[in-house]
Amino acid sequence: MVNRLIQQVWVALLALLMGLSSTWAASPTTGALTLKGKMKVGVTLHPYYSFVSNIVGDRAEVIALIDAESNPHNYQPQPNDMKRAMTFDTLVVNGIGHDEWAFEIVKAAGRKDNLPLIYANASVALIPIGGDQGNAKVVNPHTFVSTSAAIQQIFEIARRLGELDPANAAYYRTNASAYAARIRRLRADFMTRFAKLDLSAFRCATMHAGYDYLMQEFGLKISAVIEPRHGVTPTARQLANTIDAIRKVDVRVLFAEKYFANGLSKPIETATGVKMYSLSHISGGPYTADKFEVEMKENLDTLAEAIDYTAHHPKGG
């Protein structure tokens, strides 16, 4: 208790001192930062760590705001997060519902008014969560579980980083283009494999509403989502309704979460006879530059396997 109090006082003093030093001052006319050494770029989620690492190369330092093993869906800010936030020159955020805790951390660290935020999704066209959401259109914040929307975020981040650090703007953009080309190649390779598969029997449900952008870009549709809201476990009635919907539209496969196990997936598999697969939300494990590409490839392999299953196991088969 005493240790925690001392830690909080220390954090507050540090915030005051760093605020006075105003090392984050941006030029009032250009928006460029006055940097002393390499720019320190904070990120809130794993995909953004990969995106920024590939954009900045060795010309900036990439720092994750929260620990790698934290669950971003129900995260409670920790004192260490505030200490990290105090050191950032800028912070890349999802900003549309997947990292609201980041704004609490920034505020608690005393950086609300002097930390430039990069909203990765500023120019990404958002789509609603699929499945039956009670006729409501709810924004899906998982734009990073995709290739096209990911590329758009990469370019937006590169553009904003270039504004903050003009000396390296061209370098960031070149790297962003090369990275985007690799991701697009990943998509094209999958599409080649995908083209040989029969899609007519493919109907899926997902435990988590994280895959609408991924499915949309491959021309696939999600028939049902088990979670009634982002990260919320369904009630018994909601679950019964979803199971009815799965049976009604003959859903053949259920995509569960790789990182966030949900105890309901097995009972649903048993109750409906669907085949279960796991997709990665790209939100767990260590932060690495190649995480997005590695886990997106795994996702595409899993998707192809699921489509192949539905093609070879028709209803009742």
Binding site: S123, I127, K137, A195, G219
Partner: protein, 245 residues
């Protein structure tokens, strides 16, 4: 006698003046009024500045105003428009459809996404282009008193010439709920320099002809509707009332 004197003394009324001069009620009223007024002003002003502007009659939201197939194509067109503009900035020319396909760029690249979403046929229309060549230039007017007899070769030429506008036009899609699509890339004045800026349009007829004018009022008159992307900036503005664009 002694008892009576004590009673008289105990019944004597004494008026004590409040040290504040009876201002408590007035001060209390003023504070209450100020609180109510400031709260009301905050609520009214806050409500006015929140959220993106409402759509106009010829506009449609990408979030809840498009069919499934149109929404999928819009999601691909929006980043594609950015890349087309960047390519133009880098090379000074507009990439052809074949070049866009070579870079695997959806929705132009003919993959499963293209097949599932109607197999739309795309064309790039350059500024001043004679797109089809089907319409021969009409003869110059006889009574032009010797003035320049410049005549536009066809409607497409007229639609693009002088507007500094390049466009990418998609039609012939076969999916249910399919529209025709148009990326219009014009020049916008931003501060002290010119930049390319794209707007996306749809027409409910998937075989709608290429419009003979690319200015907004002309497109609207010909049944085209502008797609307003509901993007992350719009969502942040709706939820938090701040612009981050």
């Amino acid at each position: 006698m002694t008892v009576s004197s004590n009673i008289d003394r105990s019944l004597r009324a004494q008026l004590v003046q409040p040290s504040s001069g009876r201002l408590e009620s007035i001060v209390f009223f003023l504070i209450t009024f100020a609180l109510v007024a400031s709260t009301a002003a905050y609520v009214l002003l806050k409500a006015k500045q929140e959220g993106p502007p409402p759509l106009l009659s010829w506009q449609v939201s990408s979030f809840d105003g498009l069919s499934e197939v149109d929404q999928a194509i819009h999601s691909a067109l929006l980043p594609a428009a950015d890349e087309i503009i960047w390519a133009n900035n880098d090379t000074g020319r507009w990439p052809s459809i074949a070049e866009l396909q070579d870079t695997l760029l959806p929705p132009f690249y003919e993959d499963n996404f293209w097949q599932v979403n109607g197999e739309v046929q795309w064309q790039v229309i350059m500024p001043g282009a004679n797109k089809t060549g089907e319409v021969a230039p009409p003869p110059p007017p006889q009574s032009n008193n010797g003035l320049a007899s410049f005549v536009a070769p066809n409607a497409v030429y007229q639609g693009t010439l002088g507007q500094g506008t390049a466009s990418y036009y998609g039609s012939g899609g076969k999916a249910p709920g399919q529209s025709a699509y148009l990326i219009v890339i014009g020049h916008a004045h931003s501060g002290v320099y010119w930049i390319n800026q794209a707007t996306l349009w749809i027409h409910k007829d998937p075989n709608a002809p290429f419009p003979d004018i690319l200015k907004p009022e002309g497109l609207v008159a010909r049944g085209w509707r502008q797609i307003i992307p509901y993007n992350g900036a719009s969502e942040v503005e709706r939820v938090k009332g701040i612009s981050n664009g």
